[in-house]
């Protein structure tokens, strides 16, 4: 229907002030913030925004740099679920009692994405009774709270964080997290020492250079050299150690990497300078040694910092499960921590709750939404005897079920294991610079040795210094900086546009990728069912059909009902009842109406016609004895999908659709978008295997996805994107996260990656070209040491400056700045 498409296009202009998602037309929810009425997209956002403004923290909205995440549940939060954390045994795993009676607890926060969030959380938490200190670590998404258990409960703290619109979880210190945090501090220490050392040695070096120009007494020159020696020595031993150890580690395995020429340059330049100091001859290069160390450490530190953030938002499949479960014990229903569930226990899963563990239904009819495993929206009907899986959502009605296996044997745990396997089998690209490095090292060693030998024959007393100047001038600063400088700048430029780059090296893979694979639901489509078509069958016009349907769907939690939530209901609907697995029934006046499956409608309207054939999801509406309409629902594609697919194809990539969906939707969507290759009905493991098969054939594969079921394939692809609204697990596996959910960012990233590759090549060409010109001159003894030092610095600066060009032409996007 064109009119509806137009309406949809119009309404995108109206976005929720809190989370930035489109607001459905006719939806009138708003909160007064800073004296202006702001539109909200759902009750959840409204509740959070009201809480924030109600406590005088609206300054947050002025300071934030990103939209917030949409709160998970639209219903009032189920505080009961947090009560399990008051259990002393469970609480002890992530909290600590102090001597003065207070308790310190660490929470892992989901949804914290800018510094303003930390401000909001800290100030809001500090006002709670009994809380003496609340500190957020943004880098680790961690909240540390100290509170008095006499005045505050753990569940109260969880509930408050939840009410602010963030997702609290217990923060368990794992070895990986501890190691990462220790590594970070060690890196920072090395960088700090190198920085301070650089200043000191630089100061002495200026005096020495000035002395070279205007003359300096021999004893002062010796003094300055002698004091530079220990400082530079300390920097080399303490800060530059990672280069030496990495070079040695690879050398033992017979691999020549960039760290080797770096270590050679640092080690030899330092040794030569030390020898010059002791013997009182020659030239010292202490300043170059220390500065080079500092710059390389800085580049490495920045890169690792962006990678580390991903480790801390690291999430596993298990964390998507509820922490509490309702268990039958001695005939009573009790809430217990999920870990206490054992096989054969009888559990109760209420409508709307996640299934905590793989179980067999004992009693009750319902439907479970299994998008965790297949990405589909439409739930699967279950009855007694059917198995329900951990991580799926029970949609329709409460069921009792018997626990089958522990978490570690569940289907979800198998998914998690695939994710881990994917991480290990992710192809490691050989970085171009490393490939060059091996040739470079071999070449340098050869040239140096030849030079030394030739000069030894002719002028023996000059041989050592000339050979050394060859080594120094070939110092691979520029070569070593060429790649990291370009990658860091490209990542920063992308970040400014709302794309979080989590593994910078993925930019190099992306620039050479041959295949781009899309997930369907939530990636190419919006991930929500919307009304695509209304086919009246009786006397009732379309608008009235929708109003009646909306009235019947009013209280349903089924995914279908969300499509009707924005439509104004027809008045007078009463006695609405839900028939599990069939549909809804209600009365207008004394007329009975039904909405739901064909079979359900035919029960009261026997001449209801057969389902139309087009590939939509059809539901029927009828009155007692009279069919009224077919309503066709579909998961509408994102408006930009078609354009993105077209652009990417023009860039020469092969596009495939890889969907977990088993319905007829996938091929239809593919045909509409012009995608030839479609693989539907794929399990997470099959998706992963498909990508690996492509990779074996030599393809470089990029993948775009959002769901838990995409996590393994995102992990194994050479480069991967998670779109906004993606599950934590998918985000933690993706190399790029698109914050604003606009698929056009994919083409943007592709362009930037290619541009970045070009800059890397220019940098490498310059660095190599410079060396090719300078080395022969040095070998012939034409280059004085000061010229070598200047040439080295200039060439590094040129590489850094060239990389900065990647920033140009990327204006800050309004929504992220």
């Amino acid at each position: 229907m064109p009119s509806q498409a137009e309406a949809r296009a119009l309404e995108t202009a109206r976005v929720c002030f809190h989370c930035g998602e489109p607001v459905a037309p006719d939806l009138d929810l708003s909160v007064v913030i800073d004296g202006e009425s702001r539109a909200m997209c759902c009750q959840g956002c409204r509740a959070v925004a009201s809480l924030i403004t109600g406590s005088g923290l609206e300054n947050f909205y002025r300071q934030r740099t990103n939209y917030n995440e949409r709160p998970e549940s639209q219903a009032p939060p189920n505080l009961e679920a947090f009560r399990v954390y008051d259990d002393p045994l469970l609480a002890a795993t992530f909290s600590e009692s102090r001597e003065d009676g207070t308790v310190e607890v660490s929470l892992l926060l989901g949804g914290v994405n800018c510094a303003a969030c930390t401000w909001l959380i800290e100030h809001s938490m500090n006002r709670l009774p009994g809380v003496s200190q609340a500190l957020v670590n943004l880098q680790q998404s961690r909240l540390d709270i100290r509170f008095d258990p006499a005045h505050q409960t753990l569940s109260g703290l969880f509930a408050h964080v939840h009410n602010l619109g963030y997702r609290p979880r217990p923060y368990h210190t794992s070895t990986a997290r501890k190691q990462a945090s220790e590594q970070y501090r060690a890196d920072l220490r090395r960088l700090a020492v190198a920085g301070l050392g650089m200043m000191q040695v630089g100061m002495f070096a200026i005096a020495l250079h000035a002395g070279d120009i205007q003359g300096i007494e021999e004893n002062y020159r010796a003094l300055l050299r002698w004091v530079s020696l220990p400082v530079a020595g300390f920097v080399v031993v303490y800060s530059a150690r990672p280069f030496f150890s990495a070079a040695w580690r690879h050398l033992r395995r017979g691999a020549l990497v960039m760290d080797l020429p770096v270590s050679l340059a640092i080690g030899l330049a330092f040794a030569a300078s030390a020898w010059a100091t002791i013997s009182g001859s020659g030239q010292v290069y202490f300043d170059s040694v220390v500065m080079f160390t500092f710059l390389l450490l800085l580049a490495r530190f920045l890169e690792r910092r962006s990678q580390q953030r991903q480790l801390f938002i690291w999430s596993d499949a298990e964390s998507s499960l509820p922490s509490a479960a309702t268990l039958q014990r001695n005939g009573q229903w009790v809430t217990v921590p999920r870990m206490q569930l054992r096989p054969q226990d009888t559990i109760l899963v209420k409508a709307g709750d996640s299934v905590p563990v793989d179980a067999r239904v004992l009693q009750g009819n319902s439907a479970v939404k299994e998008d965790t495993f297949n990405g589909e929206h439409l739930p699967r009907a279950v009855a007694a005897g059917d198995t329900i899986f951990a991580g799926t959502v029970n949609v329709d009605a409460a069921v009792q079920a018997s626990v089958l296996v522990d978490y570690k044997d569940s289907r979800l745990a198998a998914l998690q294991r695939s994710v881990e396997m994917a991480q290990h089998s992710k192809p490691r690209i050989t970085i171009l610079a490393d490939r060059i490095a091996s040739w470079f090292v071999a070449g340098i060693l050869l040239v140096t040795t030849t030079t030394a030998l030739v000069w030894w024959q002719t002028v023996p007393d000059q041989a050592f210094w000339i050979a050394l100047s060859v080594l120094v001038i070939s110092c691979p600063c520029a070569l070593a900086l060429a790649t990291p400088a370009a990658l860091t700048n490209a990542a920063a430029a992308l970040r400014a546009r709302g794309i979080i780059v989590r593994t910078e090296n993925a930019l190099e893979s992306l620039s050479g990728c041959t295949h781009l694979l899309f997930d369907k639901t939530g990636t190419l489509t919006q991930g929500l069912l919307t009304i695509a078509e209304v086919r009246p069958l009786g006397d009732m016009p379309g608008a009235a059909v929708l109003a009646t349907a909306a009235a019947l769907q009013r209280y349903s939690t089924h995914p279908v009902a969300r499509a009707f939530s924005a439509i104004e209901e027809a008045p007078g609907g009463v006695d609405i009842t839900y028939v599990v697995g069939a549909g809804l029934e209600g009365y207008f006046g004394d007329q009975r109406y039904r909405i739901g499956s064909l079979h359900f409608c035919r029960e009261i309207a026997p001449d209801f016609p057969a389902t139309p054939e087009r590939g939509l999801y059809w539901i029927g509406l009828c009155r007692q004895g009279a069919p009224l309409a077919w309503i066709g629902l579909t998961d509408a594609e994102r408006p930009e999908s078609r354009g993105v697919v077209g652009t990417v194809r023009e860039m020469g990539l092969h596009i495939e659709l890889l969907s977990g969906d088993s319905s007829a939707q996938a091929p239809l969507l593919a045909r509409r978008l012009g995608i030839q290759t479609v693989n539907s009905n794929q399990s997470p493991q099959q998706k992963m295997a498909h990508v690996q098969a492509l990779q074996r054939d030599g393809a470089v594969v990029a993948m775009v996805g959002d769901g838990l079921n995409d996590a393994p394939v995102l992990g194994v692809a050479d480069a991967s994107f998670a779109v906004s609204g993606a599950t934590d697990l998918a985000r933690s596996q993706a190399d790029f996260v698109i914050v604003d959910g606009n698929l056009e960012q994919i083409t943007e990233t592709l362009h930037k990656a290619r541009q970045c590759r070009q800059v890397i090549r220019q940098n490498l060409a310059w660095a190599l070209g410079y060396n090719l010109c300078a080395i022969p001159l040095a070998a012939m003894g034409f280059v004085p040491p000061w010229a070598a030092a200047i040439g080295m610095s200039l060439s590094s600066l040129l590489v850094v400056g060239n990389s900065m060009r990647l920033h140009r032409g990327t204006p800050c996007k309004a929504s992220t700045c």
């Binding site: 800073d34 004296g35 303003a116 930390t118 670590n137 970070y184 301070l196 300055l224």
Partner: protein, 65 residues
């Protein structure tokens, strides 16, 4: 110029002290979160309790998009 023999070692001692202090600060976790601190220094210390009326005119429309 004789004083250099005294001044340079003193400078080195200060350098050692500065490095020690910095290493201590890093070990005690003061540099664990570099993102927040840069922003926090500009933020209000303690926001006032609700006072919607006074803010209306003083602030231009917040940059919400």
């Amino acid at each position: 110029m004789q004083s250099l023999y005294l001044l340079i070692p003193i400078a080195l001692v200060f350098c050692v002290i500065a490095i020690k202090l910095l290493l201590w600060a890093i070990s005690s976790g003061q540099y664990d979160d570099l993102d927040k601190e840069a922003w926090r220094i500009l933020a209000d210390d303690d926001p006032a309790k609700p006072e919607p009326s006074t803010r209306d005119r003083s602030t231009p429309a917040p940059n919400d998009d």
